[in-house]
Amino acid sequence: MKTTGEWLEKEIGPRISDQLDIGGIDRRSFIKFAASMTVAMGLPVGMSGRVMAAIEEESARPAVIWLHFQECTGCTESLLRSTHPTLETLILDMVSLDYSETLLAGAGHQAEAALHESMERNDGRFILVVEGSVPTADNGNFCKVAGQTPQQMLHKIAPHAVAAIAIGSCASWGGVQSAAPNPTGAVGLAKALEIEGITKTDGSALPVINLPGCPASPYNFLSTVLYYLTLKQLPALDAKGRPQFAYGRLIHENCERRPHYDAGRFAQEYGDEGHRKGYCLYKLGCKGPETFANCPAIEFGDVGGNTWPVGIGHPCFGCSEQGVGFHKALHEQADVTSVTPPSMFPGIFAEHGGGISAGSAALAGAVAGGATVYALGAYDKLRRAEKAEATEASQQD
């Protein structure tokens, strides 16, 4: 695989000199201008072609082709909420959003024409954004755009991109529709490229940046784009292809309720005294201890005041984390790998009468006997019993 520096050498965006007649400068004047700039910089006249390319690269907005597969458009919607920068600044001043089913003025054949024209104009230079998962069951027939499955579209489009951004959990790892039994065989973009054997036209791997979240925070997307446009490189990624600036820490490590966790102060139920005092939500099933995301750091909606799920009193359910979000039950307790809380704290919110079998109900009855039972490990047994049942059930499926 090539390093980021190598592929970034390619110019991005359409050539501005092709369009100068629109802006009132003809191509000849532009070549003269580039030549005089070359001389002014003390470079050999033969370098003027390079200078011209550099000027063009600076001026044009890089093209973005945004594809929607199995998705809910929530990630596009999240960009409508951003304030720094705004969506209008993004698409009017920063990038050229050449194809987007949600926002494109033209439909049908006009939409197809916009896509093909941009691909031709920006071959090897456009940024591909994918929102939604790829259905691998039944040849991808579960999702079609203009008669094409996501696989067919990726074969046609992806090799010509400079890099790809998988926005949201669906494009990153399959998202909600990949939850068991995953009826459509939904997978993320990187996995789909691997299955289909899709590379760039020169045979190198297409870099994929994963921005999971349901939806992805608009700032994780915008910061990735700005990082690329301003620092001229891709952000540092973790082993799962996620930018470290956004996914480098567990929610648990950055949560304003962490002191309550450390002190053993937990909400046991919505609306109880602990809940109204802002205590830790671990016992309600908060997945902060096993979810990597920057929600507590940047929050949502730019309205301050702890505006993120845990901040208002709802446990994190791990929407960005594969194997947690849409996988574990909301009130199931998280696996804590960093710190283990004392075992004497009372039980979680998970159990309710109906869902428990006779065996585990007997254990639940014992649990009701008091906290001493927990200290003896019965609580852990109950959890193991429930897990074993779940495993059994899934094997039967």
Partner: protein, 567 residues
Amino acid sequence: MSTNRITVDPVTRIEGHLRIDCDIKDGKVVDAWSSGQMWRGIETILRGRDPRDAWLYTQRICGVCTTVHAIVSLRAVENALDLEIPLNAQLIRNLIMASHGIHDHIVHFYHLSALDWVDVPSALKADPKATEKLAQSISNWPNNNAQHFANVQERVKKFINSGQLGIFSHGYWGHKAMILPPEANLMATAHYLEALDYQRRSNQITAVLGAKTPHVQNLAVGGVANAINPDNQSALNMERLAYVKTLMDELGGFVREVYLPDVTAIAALYADWLPYGQGVTNYLSAPDFPRDGKGTEFGMPGGYIPNADLSQFHEITHFGDPYFEKNVKESIKHSWYQGDWTRTPYEEETEPEYTDFNENGAYSWVKAPTFLDQPAQVGPLANVLAGVAAGHEPTKRYLKMAMDRIGAITGSEVPLSVLHSTLGRHAARCVRTQVLYDMMQENYDALIANIASGDYTSFNKPVFPKGEQMGFGFHEAPRGILSHWIVIEDGKIKNYQAVVPSTWNAGPRNQDDARGPYEASLIDNPVLEEDRPLEVLRTVHSFDPCLACAVHLHDNERQTVVRVNTA
């Protein structure tokens, strides 16, 4: 003249993947098919899961209609358990419904459908002074001044001169059906940009209460997860509530002084279009904005109107009303699922079986719902008509305001019957937004009063008994009546079905081969340029579809697809 087939796939400026096929003869649509192009199997995934988790999954059905599939899922589970929720929880849910609905309607008009009526490049020819005169003749909005319009014009000019038109490339600019004067186009373009700002404020209200948006995370079966405590910094306190109020006040100006004047002005300037797009005139809507924890009294009425006859209005009166429960069915005769049945949602199974587009057989992932065995149109128009039929004062007041404004521009009184149309759906959505704004104020005041009375409760714990329970919930979502249906067995989900507004409207032909609302509304729609079927988009967009699509041309005679290159 021969009949030509147009296929629009993908339909853009909607949510999701939608394909529309039309047969065109003598410049008019003579037949139409609507096809949903994506299936994700969320109902299948829910089986066996904890009913308390369902809303987290169902909310992901749609990120545009976020919140709605969450709220209705809670209502379905609570109905199955016969669980009442605290008043605070109901009011917080109502506030989120109002703020989300207002955002959604604004975005639909300006960002998803205005480009069907507004020619953006034509705005460059406008005189900013004349634009100011036009805008000030219909509204007192402070930004309606020549300087602001000149700035917008400059921004658009710079953008177009960059040669990179982005989302505005291949729009229907200069199309014969685009008839607004340059000044109206400039005004609308300026408001397209301003609307982005104001829809954000509406979203900020949703965020303060819902923790995030899209996909709020403050809900729970039995109430809400918001902790209410005026004496704590980590709870819903006076600072948070004051923020909601401030955002509400800012939003009000745009809703009253920009959105309403714009929609009515565009409808009046396009008065020739008032006869088009009627389609199915059985209207179904849900009552919503419950004023108690049980759902027996509502801020907005809903019910069923057969054949556009308001005197036949049958009101739906409470959560769990059997009149609704007994009369909803879905058919899969023309959908890509195994079998051929018409059933109540409780008894449905959705086993996919894809067979490609077959107009006489199966051609869509969408099912065909019926009410009293008939197709029904749902959405803001159905909601507004129910309001009129029920004598709902705010609806009647804002509707009259809108009709008077249209009449003032066209110079003649406009009869209510024009509402059964493409433009009528836009007007009704705008009227509904005005009512939603009233609802937001009412529920905010009620929440403050209830907290002031010392009631901080926000959650009643659900208890799941052994055995089987069935329930359904309904919600008047921005795109119309939404219902979720659940069967619970021993505390786990046994069956789950969602009957979605866009299913009602975008559904294929039903068990009797009767056309769905999109299909029926396209009949007799004019199409001036077959290779640029702008008018088809106008009518389809007026429903605010929640799917996504593209356009090819078929030649029926030869049964081959003819691609018309318009690039």
